[in-house]
């Protein structure tokens, strides 16, 4: 029996494909490609180096691997065939949407087949009465809202990549957006999924009815990063578009005060549709490009959006203004037109591209902390900037404590990426220490896999592997992602202690 067909070891052992260096024999690799070619049309299987190149990474370009092949099925039946083929040949499958993910969740394994769902891109049904849309996974997030617009409805989660990212990818990552404090994450807005297991079994979870018998496998599947199932259809909830939205922009001369203002809004019983914060480094970086009219003298800017009926918005805006002033705002502006509202938001929404303009490279973090620790975290980041010799600009989904520090570096300068990587890991560890998490919305993928060792105990990680095994007993769906193996954590732990024990910990190290 070839080693690939060995019985699967118990779940406490190393999963078979967690080793990124494991390779297939050329003959075995060739057999996979040929099997795919007999099943799918010629244009649906890519295998030359040139064709595979665009699939070597997702939105996190620091981690790259060329896959064995890429399959581009057009139908659910073809998706199933691809899965069965990979199962039969015992090779990993990496499901992929638009490839906009920021944690390397769609980075291939060298022996894997990338299963692109981009061609399953049809909106199957919009039911304006039940307020649902049934869509294929390759449909782009914004397309759903566009299709629902004639009925006065929209799909609430709006990740910043919503122009490009797909619903399938959103389900895999449990994506959020700037409005999730009030309208929820993907898990709150997906009613049901249809999916396939690696064994080609179709499974329906949730649906148009709200009660589902048994365990809530739908909630478990959302955010499972392609480790459990391959989704082929998604039923999403549509909500009525508010009649009006206005945004209040407030300046603060101290980031701690801005953080306290966020808590004060919540304490006043207000849940704004969006509540965002950026520090001066971020506003200074974006202002020249977007001309949003940001107060560059402010240490931090807060954006709070009110939506609803015109009367409701007027009332909430004046209440928000009152609270923000009482919390020490040095200046306040309220959008007076839709154009102005979009302009106020444009800076926040362009923070990532702006980071790319002011620095050759940037590394985006995604931790979440209890809001009360925001000031503490910002001071700690300032201290880390000194220590690592790198700049960091900060944007936050302040309403839900989700931070996106953007560490600026130049990959062409020796050692800068390594320093940025360690800088990021230190921020994430502080998130855990402050009672938060290493990832609020971008996912673990390959990027934060070491940080998972800090957040979860060995037994908790074993429980995760048990869950994976219940869905995917052969360990073929996106192996090596999201959950670190015991061995990996042991190695990371050793390295960690060594760093911690270094003399002069304040000196940059390479």
């Amino acid at each position: 029996m070839p080693p690939e067909l060995n019985p699967h070891p118990a779940h406490t052992a190393e999963p078979p494909w967690s080793d990124p260096d494991r390779r297939l024999s050329p003959a075995a690799a060739q057999a996979v490609v040929e099997a795919l070619r007999t099943l799918l049309p010629a244009d649906a299987v890519l295998s030359s180096q040139q064709e595979l190149h665009p699939y070597e990474c997702d939105g996190l370009a620091a981690f790259r691997r060329i896959p064995l092949a890429v399959a581009l099925p057009r139908t659910e039946a073809e998706v199933r065939e691809v899965l069965l083929t990979c199962r039969e040949h015992d090779v990993p499958v990496i499901a992929r949407g638009a490839g906009t993910g920021l944690s390397g969740g769609a980075m291939p394994h060298p022996c894997s087949v990338v299963l692109s769902l981009a061609r399953l891109n049809r909106i199957l049904d919009i039911d304006p009465v039940a307020r649902t849309a049934r869509v294929q996974p390759g449909v782009r997030n914004l397309e759903v809202s566009e299709a629902a617009a004639p009925y006065g409805l929209y799909y609430a989660p709006d990740p910043s990549s919503q122009l490009a990212c797909t619903i399938g990818g959103n389900v895999a990552e449990n994506s959020g957006g700037v409005h999730c404090l009030k309208y929820g994450l993907t898990v709150h807005n997906v009613l049901g999924i249809r999916a396939y297991t690696i064994d080609g079994e179709r499974i329906e979870l949730g649906g148009g009815a709200l009660d589902s018998p048994g365990l809530d496998l739908l909630a478990l599947s959302i955010g499972s990063e392609g480790l459990l199932l391959v989704v082929t259809e998604v039923l999403v909830k549509l909500v009525p578009r508010p009649a009006l939205a206005r945004v209040v922009m407030a300046s603060y001369d101290d980031v701690g005060k801005a953080g306290d203002a966020v808590a004060a809004i919540i304490a006043a019983g207000i849940i704004p549709a969006g509540l965002e914060m950026m520090d001066r480094k971020a506003s200074v970086a974006v202002e020249p490009f977007v001309k949003a009219g940001y107060d560059l003298s402010a240490a931090a800017i807060l954006l709070a959006e009110a939506d609803g009926t015109p009367d409701e918005v007027t009332e909430e805006v004046s209440e928000v203004e009152r609270v923000l002033r009482a919390a020490g705002a040095t200046a306040i502006a309220v959008s007076s037109s839709e154009q102005e509202r979009l302009r106020f938001w444009s800076g926040r929404k362009n923070a990532f591209p702006a980071a790319g303009r002011v620095s050759p490279d940037y590394y985006c973090m995604d931790g979440t902390i209890p809001r009360k620790n925001l000031g503490h975290m910002l001071k700690a980041i300032e201290e880390m900037e000194e220590r690592y010799g790198l700049r960091c600009m900060n944007v936050f989904h302040a309403g839900d404590g989700n931070l996106h520090p953007l560490i600026l570096f130049d990959a062409n300068r020796s050692g800068e990426w390594e320093r940025a990587d360690r800088f990021g890991a230190e921020i994430l560890e502080l998130c855990v220490q402050l009672g938060g998490t290493i990832t609020g919305e971008h996912g673990v993928g390959i990027e934060k896999i070491n940080s998972m060792c800090v957040q979860f105990s060995p037994r908790e990680r074993t429980a995760f592997f048990s869950i994976k095994e219940a869905f995917d007993p052969h360990g073929l769906l996106n192996p090596g992602k999201a959950i670190p193996t015991l061995r990996r954590c042991a190695e990371y732990g050793k390295m960690h202690i060594r760093h911690g024990a270094l003399p002069h910990p304040d000196l940059p190290r390479f």
């Binding site: 779940h11 304006p128 009465v129 039940a130 307020r131 649902t132 006065g152 449990n174 999730c180 898990v187 709150h188 297991t197 179709r202 499974i203 979870l205 649906g207 148009g208 009815a209 709200l210 009660d211 018998p213 048994g214 365990l215 809530d216 496998l217 909630a219 478990l220 955010g223 009525p240 508010p242 919540i266 304490a267 849940i271 009926t309 009367d311 409701e312 009332e315 979440t368 209890p370 809001r371 009360k372 839900d400 404590g401 989700n402 009672g435 938060g436 609020g440 919305e441 996912g443 957040q455 979860f456 037994r459 908790e460 429980a463 048990s466 869950i467 994976k468 219940a470 999201a482 959950i483």
Partner: protein, 356 residues
Amino acid sequence: MSAVASLREIQERVIDANRSGAPLRLRGAGTKDFYGERLEGELLDLRSHRGVIDYEPSELVITARCGTPLSEIEALLAAHGQFLAFEPPAFAGDPTIGGVIAAGLSGPRRLQVGAARDFVLGAKLVEASGEELSFGGRVMKNVAGFDVSRLLCGSLGFLGIITEVSLKVLPRPRCEQTLVLRLSSQDALAVFNRWGSLPLPISGAAWVEGSAWVRLSGAPPAVRAACQRIGGDSVDEVGAADFWGGLRHCTHRFFDDSTIWRVSVPSNAVLEPGEKLLIDWGGALRWYAGEAMGARARTLASGVGGTAMCWRGQTVQPRFHPLSKTVAQIHRRLKQHFDPRVIFNRGRLVAVETGA
């Protein structure tokens, strides 16, 4: 008893049970003993592991041990103008928060704010080995690892004992008004669905005994505008609290019948109206009283993509809507990993053990 001692006691009971293979029946206040397929095993009362661990109103999160009474949590939140927005049913008693989450049931406000599971941010689980594991956390957004804390919501002890939960809380709506309109059940369903697609702050939409009841919650101007749009007669605060409480806790006289079916369908699904019908969640939840509906409920529900459970009366097996083959297999495998000797709440959520 200290929390350390009460946790240790739970862990010791679990370790003993796992050694002997004798099943445990997990129980809080016992308000939901009627709920589930069956009760089996030696009673493990979880009420002594209690207490609120952390609550800061401006963080919108409360963390409590499983045995904490719901009434204690609700009183604490109310003192800060907040509440558990999913309106967990207390039935005729005072359930524990562990039981609330283990059952995962939600009240009439579900149509506006979501279900119990939508408010679960984190949970601790004592698994069959006796070890306490922690999943999720106390923050709004968290995608590290599989979402086990939400998986535990509604799990009825299938994977182990929920010993601690962190829940998102919300500010109480600043204004609330209930309206009542005389309508047929069909007309009520039609208007519920029509209003649902408009930006109206509807936090309850129910129909029973020839009347549609609509609750509006939110900012005063929004509630006022919606009242004008919807019409009908205003219900005073006491009458409103009575009615919505009756639905939430299943204490409305409709639930006096000895046989009750709970049918979950898309909100606009057309089912036979029937004499003994109560509609909640704007049409997404239909309760049928009396034996007339019987097991037909399941066929009817399946026909429109829904599910039906026998809430009370009639010896229907299983009481919950049956699982598909693939879903049942995943349950079996999860059980094998988390509770291989099947010591926790044997057969209560789903009888997978026999086929395991």
